[in-house]
Symmetry: C2
Subunit: 166 residues, 2 copies
Amino acid sequence: MELGAPPLSLPPPLGLWLQLTHEVECQNYSLKKQSAEKQLLQAREGAEKIRRKRSSLFGTFHVAHSSSMDDVDHKILCAKQALAEVTAALREKLLRWQSIEALSGFSLVSNPGLAALAAALNLEASFLGLRPPPRTSSCQTTWTTWTMTSCPRGPSSTQRGRWTAE
Amino acid sequence: MELGAPPLSLPPPLGLWLQLTHEVECQNYSLKKQSAEKQLLQAREGAEKIRRKRSSLFGTFHVAHSSSMDDVDHKILCAKQALAEVTAALREKLLRWQSIEALSGFSLVSNPGLAALAAALNLEASFLGLRPPPRTSSCQTTWTTWTMTSCPRGPSSTQRGRWTAE
């Protein structure tokens, strides 16, 4: 990293947009982590289903004549690989934003949060995918909601939400 | 947006880190889009499976006594919602980075790409999740590879890869 240059004082609007960028990336990271955790859970449930099948005569016959066991082993391997990649992504993200903060002289990781940033930038909350938790839909959406798990903060920053990674 | 301030000339190292941040976000977007497209494909495959079942006597009995049809309808609805959210995320991303570019006076959306940025910042390519396509593994990973679809570029920027969104 080239961190030798003196810190730069960013104009407030640019700082707000970079804070918003950090928050959006944090939410993408959280979604990726949740997806990897779900992938591992489903793989383990598949393994348990195989074990139950093997406990019956039909199950033994069925499993012995299918690739179910190999499939489950492969899914568990892939899920663990996905979680390892999520952990690596977290390390990369933390280093990158620490570097950007050091060079910009602007607090970015610790910020007022998406809703406040949207208001400060005159953006509609819905434009950022912010909305109250759905009451009637049970869809697993790919974008953010008010109930999205907050991003992990650096050691000197404020923990605004649940953080369970690593 | 507050874009009235005069453009700022960023120090090159900060510009490189912001270009890297843009590229990482583009890859997260691409993964999210691919996930939503896969979700819709699987939902439609489920609907086709139901149609085939209904063509048989057993299938008619089975479908008439299960929630399969409702499940498939719900999955298709959720998949379409996920794709709509991906499209909204693209709009938000484009506006945000255009604003950051305007305020910073630095070309960010059009950049030399992850590999060159990693080299310029003295980062190991593997630290960014960059690696050759796997030869023996068929895992669906959650992080990036050399073969990752490139991000859509703005009108004035360079299209470095396939772009099929919207």
